[in-house]
């Protein structure tokens, strides 16, 4: 039995009377790439924010790395990395300055920061941009830098909220290359995406609609179950089914009316 990184039980988050996350139960295992799919507004970001300790759940249980999100959110923050949906490094600082800053915030010593800086420069191919203002970076490199900064303190669990939105296919591939390397080193990845080919790279995917789980399995099993060739088709079929349920709660009642 693999070790569990993230576990939720009946997790709920309301905004007023609106239910953004509705009774979600998941288990994410160590060293897993856990894909999180869902249409806009499905509740993906809300879910991630609760797990990162940014948002208090309305009810239910959740642990991250064995720590409780209600009581131990500050400890959780030491062992997780987070890349928010919106690019959020300082654009008025250079690449190097951003790295130094986050290194300082994570209380890494100078040697460690230096080492990480070199890693980002060389393995992420950002050496030429060291003194460039982050504002002037191509988007693909901005995302890569954000990933690098989220990994500075070697987190055990990494949350990525649509890390590749707006990035060209080549840059996206490179990005996933890095994700695979990171997992190989023992990190758990929790990633949301709208790109179905990215879903194929995940070990397991979790499809959410209007705050509820509608499917959770490996991409292969999902494709077999719904007899589709790609995750794209699986996703569309599932979401359409949900739509039908919503518009026609009782399909045969229409017949009687007409």
């Amino acid at each position: 039995m693999p070790e569990i990184s993230v576990k939720t039980e009946n997790l709920v988050r309301n905004f007023g009377s609106f239910v953004a996350v509705n009774q979600v139960n998941i288990e994410v295992y160590q060293k897993e790439i856990f894909g999180f799919l869902g249409a806009n507004g499905a509740g993906k970001t809300t879910m991630i924010r609760m797990l990162c300790g940014l948002l208090k759940p309305s009810s239910g249980k959740a642990t991250v790395g064995g720590l409780d999100v209600y009581r131990q959110s500050e400890q959780i923050k030491r062992s997780i990395g987070y890349m928010s949906q919106k690019f959020s490094l300082y654009e008025d600082l250079t690449v190097e300055e951003n790295i130094n800053f986050y290194g300082g915030i994570y209380d890494l010593n100078q040697k460690r920061i230096q080492k990480k800086r070199d890693e980002i420069f060389f393995s992420l191919g950002m050496g030429d941009y060291a003194r460039t203002l982050t504002y002037d970076l191509p988007l693909g490199f901005k995302q890569r830098l954000a990933l690098g900064c989220a990994l500075l303190h070697d987190p055990r669990i990494l949350f990525l909220d649509e890390p590749t939105s707006g990035v060209d296919p080549k840059a996206r591939r490179d990005f996933w290359e890095i994700i695979h390397q990171t997992v190989a080193l023992g990190t758990t990845i929790f990633v949301t995406t709208h790109f179905m080919e990215e879903a194929e790279y995940c070990h397991r995917v979790f499809i959410m609609d209007a705050g509820k789980i509608i499917a959770l399995d490996t991409p292969t099993k999902l494709k077999n179950r719904y007899k589709k060739k790609s995750m794209q088709e699986v996703f569309v079929t599932l979401v359409e089914k949900q739509q039908e349920k919503k518009t026609n709660p009782m399909p045969d009642s229409n017949d009687k009316m007409s």
């Binding site: 905004f15 924010r49 990162c52 300790g53 940014l54 948002l55 208090k56 500050e74 923050k77 030491r78 997780i80 987070y82 928010s84 919106k86 690019f87 959020s88 490094l89 300082y90 654009e91 008025d92 600082l93 300055e97 130094n100 800053f101 986050y102 290194g103 300082g104 915030i105 994570y106 209380d107």
Partner: protein, 373 residues
């Protein structure tokens, strides 16, 4: 410690890279100072003058002629009714009135120093001050001529020949440079820390970096300290610059202790930095934060005795000013500048000011949470 330091380094870099912001921070107050100083010293012409000559003698007419011979004063007319003066001033028709008492020429002839009353509308303190200066000059000149034309007059050359009694109905303190410049110090220590902290926190909220910081182990105290210490330092730098300009360039007398001023300024900064944090927690964009900060500022300035003396406000508003921390600091700064007050004599203002500061600051810090939504 390294965490706070990293925040500070980052904050300084960002401030110095934000040119428009930088110029607003550093150039605006100095510009303000210059505008105010020059606006105050420019020549005032065509002051509307009402004359109330109760003496009706040759000599009193000579005095009035002195005022009529210059374009600094426009002679509106004569009046024999003291009440009329008040009414005309209320209706903004007269700015100054000259009251020559009965028996003026007789007393003058006897070598007694008679009084001429000069009534100035103190609403516009600057004009009032200049007008008084002119009046002194004209009366002084009159005195010189009076002695010259009367060879057997035994008094020494009459400088103190005519005493004046000035009455300020609206603005007893006569705002002048000496009064306004210390006020600018207060305004500066309000705008700068409040705007900088509110805008920079809200900007991080807007672009999402605050959310990013909130998932790091940085505590909210480290976050706020790292943010506020640079603004505190910048506030002091700016304070030093403005005071230097005021003292060296405008020769504003500073009679009190610099150390005391700096120390009390620190206590005042709790209020303004605290308000900055507070504003950032109730707004979600820089624009909103800017508006909210302006709102606070206008309220504080209007209700703090900067432009409108507190004594002249309706009683209810006067009571309300006790809730305004700026009120206390304005008194403190003016006292230090003008009277060299000791800490002890300032306690009655310093204590409530500090109490407000600590209250506002701690409530704001509590309201600032390491969470979104």
């Amino acid at each position: 410690m390294q965490r706070i330091f990293s925040m500070m380094v980052k904050e300084f870099k960002q401030v110095f890279r934000n040119r428009p912001m930088l110029s607003i921070i550093f150039i605006a107050p100095i510009l303000q100072l210059f505008i105010l100083a020059f606006a105050i010293t420019t020549e005032v012409l065509h002051i509307k003058l009402l004359v109330c000559d109760l003496d009706r003698s040759q000599v009193s007419k000579e005095v009035v002629r002195g005022f009529g011979n210059t374009d600094r004063f426009d002679l509106l007319g004569f009046s024999t009714d003291l009440k009329e003066i008040k009414e005309k001033m209320k209706a903004w028709e007269a700015q100054m009135a000259l009251v020559i008492p009965p028996g003026f020429s007789r007393d003058l002839g006897r070598g007694q120093n008679p009084e001429i009353q000069v009534v100035v509308d103190g609403v516009d303190g600057n004009t009032a001050g200049v007008a008084l200066g002119y009046a002194r000059g004209i009366l002084g000149e009159f005195g010189t001529n009076y002695v010259k034309n009367r060879p057997n007059y035994t008094q020494p050359v009459g400088i103190h020949l005519v005493n004046m009694e000035e009455r300020m109905w609206y603005n007893p303190d006569l705002s002048s440079q000496q009064f306004m410049v210390p006020g600018i110090v207060v305004v500066l220590l309000t705008i700068l820390p409040m705007m900088l902290s509110a805008l920079s926190l809200v900007k991080e909220k807007e672009i999402g970096t605050l959310e990013q910081l909130m998932v790091t182990p940085l505590t909210r105290y480290q976050l706020l300290l790292g943010k506020l210490i640079p603004f505190l330092i910048l506030s002091y730098v700016e304070l030093a610059v403005v005071m230097t300009v005021a003292i060296v360039f405008f020769k504003i007398p500073m009679n009190g202790s610099y150390l005391l001023l700096a120390g009390l300024a620190f206590l005042y900064l709790f209020t303004t930095l605290g308000l900055g944090i507070f504003i950032s927690t109730i707004t979600s964009s820089q624009q909103q934060a800017m508006f909210t900060a302006w709102f606070f500022m206008v309220f504080m300035i209007l209700m703090g005795g900067f432009f409108i003396p507190i004594e002249n406000m309706p009683p209810i508003l006067q009571k309300l000013t006790y809730l305004n921390p700026m009120r206390y600091f304005i008194y403190i700064i003016r006292d230090i500048f003008q009277k060299d007050s000791s800490l002890f004599s300032l306690l009655k203002d310093a204590v409530p000011m500090t109490a407000f500061g600590l209250l506002i600051f701690s409530l704001s810090v509590l309201k600032f949470q390491k969470r979104v939504g």
